[in-house]
């Protein structure tokens, strides 16, 4: 249904949206059928690169594209939740250590 009125204003937009066929490359670290660890590793690499280089630098965007290609949307949300919990735990442990000094 949406395609019908797309035809009217889409010709100008076609020239702008270039759909480049590129995706996460085949990783030799994960040669088998099971790619669960591949998705997880790319996610971790993205966050490691963010921690090392910071959010503004565009170098981490590559890893972001890789994990988004590989991981299903639901998995990305639960990974984000897991990451948040891990950060919270680390912060709590640091806080506890500080408190013990008093």
């Amino acid at each position: 249904l949406l395609h019908i009125f797309d035809l009217f204003n889409v010709s100008a937009i076609y020239s702008q949206i270039e759909v480049e066929l590129k995706t996460a490359p085949a990783d030799f670290r994960f040669p088998t059928t099971n790619q669960t660890r591949h998705c997880f590793t790319r996610y971790v690499e993205f966050h490691k690169s963010l921690a090392a280089k910071g959010e503004e630098s565009g170098a981490c965007e590559k890893f972001a594209k890789y994990y988004r290609s590989l991981c299903p949307g639901d998995w990305v949300s639960s990974l984000a939740l897991q990451l948040a919990k891990t950060f919270l735990n680390c912060a709590l442990i640091k806080y506890q250590n500080l408190w013990q000094h008093f």
Binding site: V19, L21, T36, C39, K65
Partner: protein, 260 residues
């Protein structure tokens, strides 16, 4: 040449299950073509052995019938024949194993990086397909659900329990990576024409690489029992020319993003 091509287009390849079908569906990927060729290789030896064994069996029954031949033979040894009947059948599996292993290992080889990743997520009882190569953030993704069209809503000429509302659009002659996973219970993503059957195991991402060689519409069905509506979970892959794929995806991306 043009006349021959035109003739080819009037033949409808078998890309879906047909009633009373005996052979496999027509191959659409090199993998399926390899499987079909291996089947022909093995079938040759199969027929050879079948004819040989039945001939011996029938001969033995005929010539040693108790009325024609009341006194049984008392042969207990026959060294030559024993050696021959051991060596000969052990050579035949070698002829079968060589093409079989060649195919098996070539199926696992990923020599070219895939161009597209498509995630096929199985639910009870519909499928979701995600094309996330074009995301610029975590939330945006070309995602759509694919439900099998119920019998009452079928149009004239459509296949029962095979047609879906949203097909998986893929570019032909392109290396694809398909990631199969379920959201709840085990499913299986199977498309016989493409030689694909990949189990969807909860908590696991299974990858398959295919390269569909011809344009067309390919049908498949869920191949792992997943509940009441396991029969109502079909898969339809539509292979389009590569240049048309770009416009199909852009078409669907525009409503998603809301801007150019």
């Amino acid at each position: 040449m043009i006349v021959l091509e035109w003739l080819f287009l009037t033949i409808a390849p078998c890309d879906a299950a047909e009633p009373w079908q005996l052979g496999s569906q027509d191959a659409a990927t090199p993998m399926m073509q390899g499987i079909t060729d291996l089947h022909h290789d093995i079938f040759f030896f199969l027929i050879l052995i079948l004819v040989f064994v039945s001939r011996i069996l029938v001969r033995a029954l005929w010539h040693f019938h108790y009325q024609k031949n009341p006194i049984p033979q008392r042969i207990v040894h026959g060294t030559t024949i024993e050696i021959l009947r051991t060596i000969f059948p052990s050579i035949i599996p070698m002829f079968i194993a060589i093409p079989s292993f060649a195919l098996l290992y070539s199926m696992d080889e990923v020599v070219v990086d895939p161009a597209i990743t498509i995630k096929a997520i199985g639910h009870q009882w519909y499928r979701t397909y995600e094309y996330s190569d074009y995301n610029s953030s975590d939330e945006q993704s070309l995602t759509f659900d694919s439900y099998t069209i119920p019998e009452d809503d079928l149009e004239f000429g459509q296949s029962r329990l095979l047609e879906v509302d949203n097909r998986v659009v893929v570019p032909a002659k392109t290396h694809l990576r398909i990631i199969v996973t379920p959201a709840d219970v085990p499913h299986s993503w199977a498309v016989p024409s493409s030689g694909v059957k990949c189990d969807a195991v909860p908590g696991r991402l299974n990858q398959i690489s295919i390269s569909v060689q011809r344009e067309g519409v390919y049908y498949g069905q869920c191949s792992e029992i997943c509940g009441t509506n396991h029969a109502f979970l079909s898969i339809v892959v539509e292979a389009v020319p590569r240049k048309d794929y770009g416009s199909r995806v852009s078409n669907q991306l525009i409503p998603q993003t809301g801007e150019a």
